[in-house]
Amino acid sequence: MATHEYLEQGHEELKHVSDTELCSTYAALRDECQPTEAGTYHPNLQKLCGSAFEREKDRREVRRLVEQDPPPEMQAWYDEARRQPCVWWLDHHLVARHALKSCLSCGVCTAQCPAAQYYEEYNPRTIVDVALSRDEQRLIELLRSDVLWYCGQCGSCKTKCPRENNVMGLVSSLRFLSQLKGYHLASVRGRQQYAARHLWGANFWNRAFSLYFRNADASSHPDFGPRYARYWAEIEEQMRRVGATPDVSGDLGGKKVQPETLAELRRCVQWGGTLVLWQQIEEHAQASAVRSGLTIDEYYDKVRSEG
């Protein structure tokens, strides 16, 4: 297969390509460049972003790293943690341990929570109550719910809590656990995390930033209106006009990072244990897709448009 043909292939077509060939082809396409007046331009970044080829490369790359022996310390920790009861997580996970002190049940977290104002069934005080109950079944029920995914992570709850609890952090920690254990598959909002893995997770892993400027294309954002569509039609020129560096080696908006930087960043991600989460999300999604009679690429399209 010619190098550029990979860009059009999905999981099924790439099944028989070796991991090594897949990863090296991806890197070659990513780093392909051409000199322009604006600097060293990388024409394939926009084609790789969001492609089935990138998803297949990422799932193979992560699986290979997770299987490395011996694993980094935190990778081993998260692999062990996912087999423990939920109550164990509350006592041992770094963020969960620091999130809750005690609760007066005063409700100030809920009173000023923007998500509680929008979603009638959302109540951060209830989430605290479930955590403090240390009831395994109530915790599992919460981890399987849509409610867990309603928090907007603004931190309004933390500002006013008289006990200095960090409900935003608690929610974040419980969402992590939900995905590690696969409970997120029980809710529509939870299943969206497979799209998240290959959207901001892929941006971070492959482009060193959580958001890539091409994610905000006008067709993905009809809510931004026709004036934005006009701006989007000139996006690269408009970005360069104000000094940004779209798909160009540089320092500011839209830049293409050096492979050496990306390598360091990825090792930081790996050493912190994140790849256990990504591997679990992948395995749960694969199993869910099979149960639904879908290919993994069809499953990806389904979960990102549901809600």
Partner: protein
Amino acid sequence: MERFPIAAPTETAKPVKTVKEIPANDFYLTTSCILGALNPGTETLITKLYDLLGLHWGITAANPASQCTCCTGITSHGDMMAFESTLLVVARLWSVAAELGFENITTACVTSFCIHTECLEMYHEEPDLMQKVDRWLYEACGRTLHIPKHVVHASDIIYRYRDTLAESFLKHRLVDFRTGRPLRIVDHVGCHYNKVFPEKAVGGADYCDVLTGMIRSWGGQTVDYPERRHCCGMGFRQCMIRPNRGYTMACVLKKLASMEPYQPDAILTNCPGCNVFLDKEQWAIQELTSKEYGIPTLSYTELAGLLLGWDPYDVVGIQAHTVPVEPLLDKIGIPYDSDRAWLTDTPKEEVSVS
């Protein structure tokens, strides 16, 4: 009948004290994924303002391994990153800053400010964590942990120098040049600047002064509108996954409806996400409610750039905004040629909210 008297809006309270120490110089700048993608002018303006003020700052590294990266912000709050990975990614950035000789971090993004601060706080609360992260960082990429002297947001720096800008550099004031009326500017401070660690914000959470201080110094009138402290609703997984976006629109609508009785001339922000959604969702809200708010939304660097007389299109990049900024320029008396907004004759695309 108007709910509030337009002639006498409630001005924001001046803070009793500035609770925060803001270093004068020597900054490593970490860039923002949202600013870079959606408001690139806001980010490049930070560098231009630092240069104008003669500050010693940096971002460029000769070592190709030492480039700046994301702090993990969206990935972390989008529930896709272990906190220990975030600690390492941030520790790597601090190591790069130290390698370049900078002892202070300024972040372009408020979520980055929150993430860096959260890391510092966790080191204070968890006694042996620093040693662990130092060891992991060395194993992962051969670097060592350097705790920065200060972590501040770029808006803190502009706040510190707001009077210097007003006295020595600004060509325009936040005043209607035709009538002499101070322009009414409503502020919206990013939640991750002042809500998660209020003690690290200028003026704290309820009476945050980081933006109102600039408004006052630059001649405008501040307004303490009822939902001033409500989130813009960006919400990471809410705005980035399309079926969840109703939450974002509802939060923006709540804020617009709350500020509208005061007839604001503009909204001022210091958060990349707020600057995008308070501006761009005004179009969707108009489509859904038939109500046009039409309130221009600017970041603090965009406003500073415009008042400095820098080119609205080539330097500030106001054409990136959904609500046109030109009516505000008309009030201030800033000249512009609207034919220069666009680079091509691309016809308007038909877009509908779905």
